[in-house]
């Protein structure tokens, strides 16, 4: 059964349909990558799923109840969100920012959760550093650790929930891209439904059980990586002509940018 389900979601902004009848469902323990060209509506979809943005039409159900009617506090216990480009203006330390994931909670239990999350994102020794003095990638890992703490607090009350990530690996080096992906997959193994917006198609195929492709506010493909990622998708959705290779083990497809080139634009 689906934990989080959006049906026929329409979002209008400035007379334009940012999302145009999107339906998507997340099951417990599933990892989903949302891909698509710039301006396809990926971030808007994430905001709708998070309950942050009310769609003009359609609805989002979390555990069968409408997201719009849940109090923020209850919502926060069941789903966590990692958004992009967050600035921390006051001199909070890394440990303090990560502990914010626990909301009002504090004490030994929270300290232990923070320590685990710090180790998970490989930031041991940085706990007392002022957050804004960390590098972009370190800040991003710090925020991921905060989200892990929030998930852990929610899980203690309601069991595994939903984790929504907006380009979680955007400013990470390769080692930490893989580490974060592995960490998200460990959440899924515990029963959390994980959805991430990913720009790198290769990372998407590596990470996800399912890939959802958005184009101009619509879902144009939804399925396992092996079915979704192919030459036709590259050309029709991303406007790139190139070869998609396959790694025999697990049949995961990969895109080699060296062998790709922009295709002539059509249909605009």
């Amino acid at each position: 059964m689906a934990i989080l389900q959006a049906s026929d979601v329409v979002v209008m902004a400035g007379g334009r349909r940012i999302l145009d009848g999107v339906s998507i469902s997340l099951k417990a323990g599933e990892t989903i990558a949302v891909v698509g060209p710039n301006g396809a509506g990926k971030s808007t979809l994430l905001r709708v799923l998070a309950g942050e943005l009310r769609p003009s039409k359609g609805q989002v159900l979390l555990d069968g109840g409408s997201v719009a009617s849940l109090r923020p506090r209850l919502l926060a216990q069941r789903r966590a969100v990692l958004s992009q480009s967050i600035t921390v203006t006051f001199p909070f330390t890394l440990a303090e920012v990560i502990a914010m994931g626990a909301g009002d909670g504090r004490g030994e239990v929270v300290d232990a959760l923070v320590a685990t999350a710090v180790a998970d994102v490989d930031l041991g020794g940085f706990e007392q550093r002022i957050f804004s003095t960390l590098s972009g990638g370190e800040q991003q890992r710090g925020h991921f650790a905060r989200v892990l703490v929030q998930m852990a607090c929610g899980e203690a009350r309601h069991g595994p929930g939903v984790l929504l990530l907006d380009e979680p690996t955007a400013s990470l080096d390769l080692r930490h891209q893989l580490a974060l992906t592995a960490s998200a997959k460990r959440c899924a193994a515990r029963g959390v439904a994980v959805l991430a917006i990913v720009h790198d198609l290769n990372l998407a195929t590596l990470f996800a059980d399912r890939i959802v492709v958005l184009q101009q506010g619509r879902v144009v493909a939804d399925g396992p990586p092996a079915e979704v990622v192919n030459e036709e998708l590259l050309e029709k959705v991303f406007g790139v002509r190139g070869a998609v290779g396959r790694i025999p083990e697990g049949h995961r497809p990969f895109v080699l940018p060296h062998a790709a080139e922009p295709a002539p634009m059509h249909g605009h």
Partner: protein, 344 residues
């Protein structure tokens, strides 16, 4: 960590010392021994006792109480405002919130006086803080609407809009000064510069009530203000009822600065200096920062007021001049340090 656990007791002691010092110095000097006698702790010379007690209870203690309340309210208003706007440069005196309150209070004096004079009723003094509250609330709300778009606050827009709102409100006060008669003029004058000269028990009690309410609200909003530092969307993701928090914060800021303005005029920079120094010492977490700003703001303004009334005795320096002399350079340093944030 030690600094944090000791912060509140240390600040309490500091406030107590400042209060004792403020009680002993002034036009009629009262030595520490005579202070103890007047308070009934030890026996003293009966001739001096009566005079000392009169000075203390009718002049000095109400003034100390006022300074403590005004300082605490201004500092807390600044801290909450900075949390709300995620910006260490916010201060009610600087961005037109106090000016909005001053305009409403001045309008009440001049226009209200005229209306009431017709019916020969004296204006109740409680009307002033109420008017100042409404004025401050209006200014804060307009400022928030202008400076915040889609949950993000532009610091440059915020400061510039605040400047414009403050200028507009002060122009309104200027217009009222133009219309005012001599007696009203003296009443209005002190809003421009700030003074605790008009301290009475009644005013002090009313302000203590507002200060107490603020203190009660602290545990309720402190953690949410922490989470709001990451942004409105992020605070919502972590379970904060953002719209409600914003409304509560705006009302608290308006109530605190409105009450302070109504009885002490526009006193700037306390709301910037106090939280900034405390953040350096005990960190930015609001659960500790808010009660600490309360105590430290009270102490700082009490010290400033004691200077203001003794430095040029028997004349009195308007306290707003004193806080601006210290606070404005401080603000400039902060501004230069935060240049990157402002995109300058």
């Amino acid at each position: 960590m030690q600094l944090r656990t000791l912060a509140i007791p240390a600040l309490c002691v500091l406030l107590l010392l400042a209060a004792v010092a403020a009680a002993t110095v002034g036009a009629a000097g009262i030595s520490f021994e005579r202070l103890l006698a007047a308070l009934g702790v030890i026996d003293g010379d009966p001739a001096l006792l009566a005079r000392d007690q009169l000075v203390l209870w009718s002049v000095r203690v109400p003034r100390i109480a006022m300074a403590v309340c005004v300082g605490a309210l201004l500092a807390v208003a600044g801290t909450i405002m900075q949390g709300l706007f995620r910006n260490p440069l916010a201060d009610p005196g600087l961005v037109g919130v106090s000016a909005g309150g001053a305009l409403a209070a001045a309008a009440t004096i001049v226009l209200g006086d005229r209306l009431m004079a017709h019916y020969a009723i004296k204006l109740p003094f409680e009307l002033l803080p109420l008017a100042a509250f409404v004025g401050s609330l209006t200014a804060t709300t307009i400022l928030y609407r202008i400076a915040t778009r889609e949950g993000r606050t532009s610091i440059a827009t915020f400061l510039l809009a605040g400047l414009a709102i403050g200028a507009l409100a002060m122009a309104g006060v200027g217009l009222l000064v133009f219309m005012a008669d001599d007696r009203q003029l003296r009443d209005i004058q002190f809003w421009m510069l700030g003074s605790l000269g008009g301290a009475t028990w009644e005013k002090a009690m009313l302000m203590a009530g507002v200060a107490g309410t603020m203190l009660l609200a602290v545990p309720w909003i402190a953690r949410s203000l922490d989470l709001l530092v990451l942004g409105e969307a992020e605070a919502f993701h972590m379970g904060v009822e953002v719209e409600r928090l914003k409304r509560v914060a705006i009302v608290l800021v308006a109530a605190a600065s409105g009450a302070a303005v109504a009885f002490a005029g526009v006193i700037g920079f306390v709301g910037i200096v106090v939280p900034h120094l405390l953040r350096l010492a005990i960190g930015p977490g609001h659960r500790l920062l808010l009660p600490a700003t309360f105590l430290f703001g009270a102490t700082l303004l009490l010290v400033a007021d004691t200077f203001a009334r003794t430095i040029a005795a028997p004349a009195e320096l308007p306290i707003g001049i004193l806080t601006a002399l210290v606070g404005a350079p401080f603000f400039l340093v902060l501004l230069l340090r935060n240049r990157g944030m402002l995109g300058l």
